[in-house]
Subunit: 460 residues, 2 copies
Amino acid sequence: MNNPYETLDILITGGTLLTMEPPGDIVADPVIGIRDGRIIFVEEGGATRGELPEAREVLDASGCLVMPGLVNTHTHLPMVLFRGLADDLPLMRWLNDHIFPAEERFIDRETVYAGTQLAIAEMILSGTTTFCDGYFFESSVARAAVEAGMRGLVAQGFIDFPAPDRQSSAEKATVAESFVENWRGRSPLVTPALICHSPYTCSPETLRSIKAVARRTGVAFLIHLAETREEVRMIRERYGKTPVRHLADLDLLDENTIAAHCIWLDENELDLLAEHKVKVAHVPESNMKLGAGVAPVPAMLSRGIAVGLGTDGCASNNDLDLLGEMRMAAMLHKVFSADPTVMTAGKVVEMATSGGARVLGMEDRIGSVIPGKEADIILVDMKRPHLTPLYNPFSHLVYAASGADVAASIIGGRIVMKDRRLLQLNLAAIMPEVRRIGKQVVQAGFHRPASPFRSDPIRE
Amino acid sequence: MNNPYETLDILITGGTLLTMEPPGDIVADPVIGIRDGRIIFVEEGGATRGELPEAREVLDASGCLVMPGLVNTHTHLPMVLFRGLADDLPLMRWLNDHIFPAEERFIDRETVYAGTQLAIAEMILSGTTTFCDGYFFESSVARAAVEAGMRGLVAQGFIDFPAPDRQSSAEKATVAESFVENWRGRSPLVTPALICHSPYTCSPETLRSIKAVARRTGVAFLIHLAETREEVRMIRERYGKTPVRHLADLDLLDENTIAAHCIWLDENELDLLAEHKVKVAHVPESNMKLGAGVAPVPAMLSRGIAVGLGTDGCASNNDLDLLGEMRMAAMLHKVFSADPTVMTAGKVVEMATSGGARVLGMEDRIGSVIPGKEADIILVDMKRPHLTPLYNPFSHLVYAASGADVAASIIGGRIVMKDRRLLQLNLAAIMPEVRRIGKQVVQAGFHRPASPFRSDPIRE
């Protein structure tokens, strides 16, 4: 089956390969063979060998970095619909006057599908090949992913106050179970999961019952955790303990729990996360923009906690560009610790690739470019003025590249983007549909207009 | 001369105009006439009027933001040659083992010219139309700017230890004076200026003599100020006072002094800067990447201090993308002050345009799109997935756009970039020359290789 002499689906030649396994590994002038969705071989020195193996499609990566596709470990894709809806506001006014009412009114099966399509387009164009999403109407997210050829961990969301999908408390476990059963094994691209919003918006009963379904069905359990000081205050008031201790006492922490944010942790909570092998999604831009705080990532890494990078939803970021998030992560921790040696470029690239795969429990399938793994590979074009000269590829990826430098993307052995053109998505249909929803949001009065202003800035 | 019926050089129609004068002003569907390097008229409602005025070239800005070109108030352009040379190192090892030896060996009249050409290409491609540079061999920088049609405040550099241009102490004032005389009035694009590196690398005599030349010739005086805690310690030890007080006592502070960084200031120093009307260049990415600290920008703004944004040189950033710098500025101050309402998107756009013009003393000529000003205008393409939908243009510029979204650029009434193609620079000649210099730097052993690595990642 893995006979290297059989005709390949894709052959990548040239450029410089960052395999990410081991993390600092660099292969000059590689030849990479892909067949049946998988990486068949990775060899060095393409230019010096004679005949190349036969392949249906050859990608010339000269002047490019070849590397694993980026893994976004925390987002809420449909929130692209509210991108820039209301910024620079106090957190509670932002949520209560803009985001929550807009979600209540505009989030449904169809808008989630439309928003996810746009989000997937944006992710593919900026180098992400796997996302981890948590929101409502997640079947629409899964459907959009399969159609677009995008890989995702797709988590149906649960919260105790009325959500757009209006589940009753009694229904939650059933909805969770049937979502998982419905999507498990249906597509190699979609892995179902479950997310409880947070310890302060979900009761202990809700948390326990959803985690029980996750355990029973063997899927990941996601949660926002220790994002704000206000959350810590609330949990202490209600339960007399810190948020991580609260979850530990409810038996929610294990290696299939992925916690996002994790900012306000004491030493004991860091130890609890490490001990229970909880995975962490670090989302620096959202934390910065909302003034939430700085997660103690260097302390997590030194305890061996698996940490990936995420963008969060577009209402609080406001884009899905993981390369930007990588830069932010490196720079934020350097200034916050007054130490330019923390969060090196290589470590950050690892967090965005193999580290992210580990957070999602997918490290056996994706996250590095080695034979046997599924072929999730991107080409980053280094032949650009802002990436010249090139001394160190890790450094350029983190400190100078942006999503717009990604030249091609392969997911599961299928080319989904080439020369900045999307091959599986029709932007000409997706963008007008999202603009139409955006206009309705404006008409409903939920946006915060630029001020002072003469006329509405939204134009087709 | 300004007869609006005369044939125009350029007519811009459509899109949405951010005039930046007043700062929040938005003109829907504008018509902008440009002739003889200047903006002749700005009108609303292009689609509803009948015949358009005659023009040699019409730029269709449909779906774009039209706005003043960005102003980079602090950089060292030729340092693109050392972009990513050595990152994630302690400051002193970075400087002493990599940057200083590389400068000593490779910085001369010709490498400065080549590096500046590449830097100008990168700046134009990312929306910057005016830079403020300080380095050695600045005549080469000025020459490259004039040839490329780029606007710049070009400051010849002075430092007390041996610099690549090897001036003796006695020569400094003479060199300064002849640099200014040589470039004053020679091109509308180049404004000469002088920079002393810092209070810790320049003696009081050097500082006083260069500032005296600046005063006599009426040009701006630049300096790095209060960048690190170590600098504050050194100045206290040597002079028994804080850095700003030290400069105030030397009579260096006035409205023609532009101070970069300004991180470690006490209340008294903030008052001194405000009182003397000193202008400040804020360079958040460099400050973050080097772990230097966070400048008290909200406190500066509340005192009425003029603050612009800068990228710093590419050895410490590592690019010249001001849109990225805008995002960093907004997000850094929100998280640092735990307040999402500080440094709003509108304020940050102002800092990068009209505010930057004020810092450089050019506010009568550039920084906004109003009749009478020189025509420095950019078009930012909003028809992109990551900029959809569009609720608020200021928000998108700061939180979602990147330099790669800039579609066209006009400097002094001349189109220098259109549809991402540079019209005045030949990248096909510039990039190989910079790569050639980069290879020499690697051969000299001054770079920090990616590690572990199998082979040198630099490839043509």
